[in-house]
C-alpha cells in the first residue's frame, strides 16, 4: 500500500518539475538516443541498417499507448471524482497520443517499404488495428468539437476516451496473434528478444520519447489553461 502511495506521490510530483528542466531533459535524451541509434548500436543480423528505425518506432508506439491510457485515466477521474482539471488533461493526453500515433504510422510505413516492399499491407492485422485505434481517437476530436463547451461535452468525451482505451491492449496483442508473422515481435512473455547495446539504445529512446511527450503535454496544457482563463476574463471585462 505504501509503495502505491509512493508511486502516486512520485507521479504527482512530476507536475512540480519546471518546464525548462523538462525541455532540456528532452533535448538531452533525444540527442543521446540519436547518438546511440546511429553510432553505438550494432547492425541487426537479420534486418541490417533498416532495423534502426525500430528504436524510435517502437518507443513512439509505446508512448502513444501511454498517452491514450493517461487520457482514459483523466476521463475516469472526470467521471468518478468530477475533478475539474481532468477533462482538459484527458483531452491533451489524447491529442499527444494522436501526434505520436501519426509518427508510428509514418515510421512504420517507411520501414515496411524497405522490408516488405510496400508502404502498407492491408492483410496485416496489427497494422489495420493500429489504424483503427488511430482513427477511433481522431473521431474523438470530431465528437468533442461537435458539442458546445460544458458538462455534456466533457462527459461524452470521457466516456468515448474510456471506450477507446480498450483498443490499446487489442492493438498490442494483435502483433502477437498475427498469422502472417511479418511484423517483428521484440517483446515476448520471457522478456525482450535483444540485449546489450540494442537494449540500452532502446531504453534510452523510450525514456527520450516519454519525457518528450510529457514536455509537449505540459506546454500544451499551459496554453489551454491560459486560453480558458483569458476567455473567462474577457467575459468579465465585456
Amino acid at each position: 500500500m505504501s509503495s502505491w502511495a509512493a508511486t502516486i506521490g512520485g507521479v504527482i510530483s512530476l507536475r512540480r518539475i519546471p518546464l525548462w528542466t523538462l525541455a532540456l531533459a528532452s533535448l538531452a535524451l533525444v540527442t543521446i538516443a540519436l547518438v546511440c541509434v546511429f553510432y553505438v548500436a550494432p547492425n541487426d543480423a537479420n534486418q541490417g541498417f533498416s532495423q534502426r528505425i525500430f528504436y524510435f518506432h517502437v518507443s513512439i508506439a509505446f508512448t502513444a499507448y501511454a498517452c491514450f491510457a493517461c487520457g482514459a485515466w483523466g476521463a475516469l477521474r472526470h467521471l468518478w471524482k468530477r475533478d475539474p482539471r481532468a477533462d482538459l488533461e484527458s483531452y491533451v493526453c489524447i491529442h499527444q497520443g494522436i501526434i505520436f500515433g501519426a509518427m508510428v504510422l509514418l515510421t512504420g510505413s517507411i520501414w515496411a517499404k524497405i522490408s516488405w516492399g510496400h508502404w502498407w499491407v492491408w492483410s496485416e492485422d496489427e497494422l489495420v488495428l493500429f489504424l483503427v485505434l488511430y482513427l477511433f481517437y481522431c473521431a474523438y476530436f470530431m465528437l468533442r468539437f461537435s458539442l458546445d463547451p460544458g458538462p455534456q461535452r466533457a462527459n461524452l468525451s470521457a466516456v468515448y476516451a474510456l471506450f477507446g482505451v480498450v483498443l490499446v491492449p487489442v492493438s498490442f496483442a494483435a502483433i502477437r496473434l498475427s498469422k502472417e508473422f511479418l511484423h517483428p515481435r521484440v517483446f515476448t512473455l520471457s522478456g525482450p528478444r535483444f540485449g546489450g547495446w540494442i537494449l540500452v539504445t532502446y531504453l534510452v529512446a523510450q525514456a527520450a520519447m516519454l519525457v518528450l511527450a510529457y514536455t509537449l503535454y505540459r506546454i500544451e496544457i499551459v496554453g489551454k489553461r491560459l486560453d480558458l482563463r483569458l476567455r473567462e476574463l474577457r467575459e468579465v471585462v465585456a
Partner: protein, 53 residues
C-alpha cells in the same frame, strides 16, 4: 548512401519534422494568447481611466 540508410534517415526526419511542426503550432498559439493578454490589459486600463475620469 544505401537505400536502407536513405529510408532510415527519412523516418527520423519525419519524426523531427512532426515534432517541429507541433512546437511551431504551439508557439503561434502562445503568441496569439500573449497578444490577447496585452489587448485585455489595455482594455482594463482604458476602462479604469474612464471610470476614474
Amino acid at each position: 548512401m544505401t537505400t536502407a540508410e536513405k529510408y532510415v534517415t527519412a523516418a527520423y526526419c519525419v519524426v523531427f519534422a512532426l515534432v517541429l511542426l507541433y512546437v511551431v503550432i504551439i508557439a503561434v498559439k502562445l503568441g496569439r494568447l500573449d497578444r490577447d493578454v496585452e489587448e485585455l490589459e489595455r482594455r482594463v486600463e482604458r476602462d479604469s481611466q474612464d471610470s476614474g475620469g
